[in-house]
């Protein structure tokens, strides 16, 4: 395995197409997590 071949494989790896959905993935998780937290707090308040 020479270095050139590994570089070529790395190029292919870095060329993996990135889907648009990835851009908002972190924000969506945080929003979902906060919504769940709000829902839980509301439920706990209701229970007193």
């Amino acid at each position: 395995m020479n270095e050139e071949k590994l570089k070529s494989l790395k190029r292919q790896y870095l060329n993996t197409p990135i889907p648009e959905e990835l851009e908002s993935i972190v924000e969506n998780i945080l929003i979902e997590k906060n919504l769940l937290k709000m829902k839980r707090n509301k439920w706990q308040k209701k229970r007193g």
Binding site: M1, L9, Q12, Y13, P19, L22, I29
Partner: protein, 167 residues
């Protein structure tokens, strides 16, 4: 106080995930060869990281800790999939590539894909993600000598596979 610390760490994890999301995606994709599955793995990994934030003892090891979550989540996914999917579909999945430079690269990629997970993982982390041997050792929870040996064997196996295919 502990809650404030967790909040700070959560923000750190989120910021880290934003910076490294493409690395995590490519890493996950290298295992599953499927965009939807790779996205699911990244999403699950970030969830796990945020949920398990209190188990992160040293924020300096955030990078290797996060990579470990992505690697383990990918391997778990493959284990589950192996139980559910017929072998034929997996063979086709391994040919699902974006851009392939030429036939030789295609053979090489195929040879890499056919390596057992533990060998493929060290090649991807070392040569494609440019991680240090020490970092890979932390991610895989192995000592550095084991990682070096595994890396050497991986390259050896790749060379042998290529020679076999040429014959």
């Amino acid at each position: 106080m502990a809650r404030l610390k967790d909040k700070k760490l959560e923000r750190l994890v989120a910021e880290f995930a934003v910076v490294y999301r493409e690395n995590f995606y490519r890493l996950a994709y290298s295992y599953v060869k499927n965009s939807d599955d790779a996205l699911d793995i990244v999403q699950e990994s970030i969830y796990k990281a945020i949920s398990a934030i209190s188990t992160l003892e040293n924020p300096d090891s955030l990078k290797t800790w996060f990579y470990r979550i992505v690697v383990n989540t990918s391997l778990d996914f493959l284990r589950k999939k192996k139980r559910n999917v017929a072998v034929g579909e997996e063979v086709f999945a391994s040919f699902d590539y974006g851009i392939v430079d030429n036939y030789e690269d295609f053979d090489l990629q195929k040879a890499l894909d056919n390596l057992p997970d533990k060998y493929r993982t060290v090649v991807v982390l070392r040569y494609f993600e440019d991680l240090k041997i020490e970092e890979i050792a932390q991610i895989l929870n192995e000592n550095t000598n084991t990682v070096k040996t595994r890396l050497y064997k991986s390259l050896e196996k790749l060379r042998i596979k290529l020679i076999e295919e040429e014959v």
